[in-house]
Symmetry: C2
Subunit: 184 residues, 2 copies
């Protein structure tokens, strides 16, 4: 039996990210889980219009998407609680730069993507920043067989309307394979 | 030590969805993991330009996003392997309709969102469909304390560039809480 919940976005779980940008000339990081995969080289990041970060992304046309590990959950949560308007978050993490000089990235996060802003969607309460990934950086410790091992990345997941952080689970089936049983 | 991987989209894990649409007047379902949360009522779904589904979404201006459970992994994988051009996928699942008459939804999936197409982003190899969620449907069995219990939903997760399907994990920390330790 189906129940109507209203127009609720339950496209979950989503990975929790830390979005980096220069704001007023200083690195700032904000916790964002309203994110999306547009294709192999483009991401979307939605930030409430009242957030301190947005002006910096618009001004510089660059930002970073950092994937924190569960061991960084305190720092990750902190960057979502405290606004850059009130606190200098530039020292919460060790910052590094890659190919984009105004896209600060977080050394402690196992994965980092430096992005160039290519479009901004104007939603009622959010700016949705569409970024072209210019370069992806990762810790050598999370590589295995030439690819990234997400069990080693140990990302933090989130459920919209929820208030918990969740762990990633285990692989249980092969794609482009397990469904072949249904082919006639 | 950071390693450069090229411009790789590693915004992972993402939830695996089944996107429903009417194509040539018949329900069709395609497996899509290139998805995103834009805000509390908008989603993005990116479908390769050569896919059978795209014309139907453009023609009707509607689609559905269904969240399959791990027990539907065979059917989910099948809908990603086999094109609607070659096979009638309308009978893979039991179909139902909600507020949008051309947005077929999957009864077996614990969560379903009926969406109205509001914008299409033209990426090099994908159409990115932006949908406004009109109504969300869920199985009563996955409700708890008035909200949706994602351990009961038991969604399927995916890693871009990978080929495995993954399980969701366990809650391990509270949001807007665990980071307070770092506030001075």
């Amino acid at each position: 039996m189906k129940k109507e919940l209203g127009a609720k976005n339950l496209l979950c779980p989503v990975p929790v990210t830390l979005v980096g940008a220069h704001v007023n000339g200083r690195p700032n990081f904000i916790t964002i889980a309203f994110v999306g995969v547009l294709d192999y080289s483009h991401v979307s990041v939605a930030s409430g219009k009242n957030h301190y970060t947005n002006a910096g992304i618009k001004e510089n046309g660059t930002f970073s998407v950092n994937i924190p590990a569960t061991r960084q959950v305190k720092e990750t949560d902190y960057c979502g609680i405290v606004s850059g308007k009130k606190a200098d978050k530039s020292a919460v993490f060790e910052t590094f730069y890659g190919k984009l000089e105004s896209a600060p990235m977080i050394a402690e996060c196992p994965l980092n993507m430096a992005c160039r802003l290519v479009q901004t969607l104007d939603m009622p309460r959010h700016d949705v920043f569409i970024g072209e990934i210019v370069e992806t950086y990762c810790d050598e410790e999370v590589l295995a067989d030439g690819g990234v091992d997400f069990e080693k990345v140990d990302p933090i997941l989130f459920i919209i309307y929820g208030s918990d952080y969740w762990r990633f689970g285990k692989a249980f089936a092969r794609g482009w394979s397990v469904g072949k049983d249904l082919m006639k």
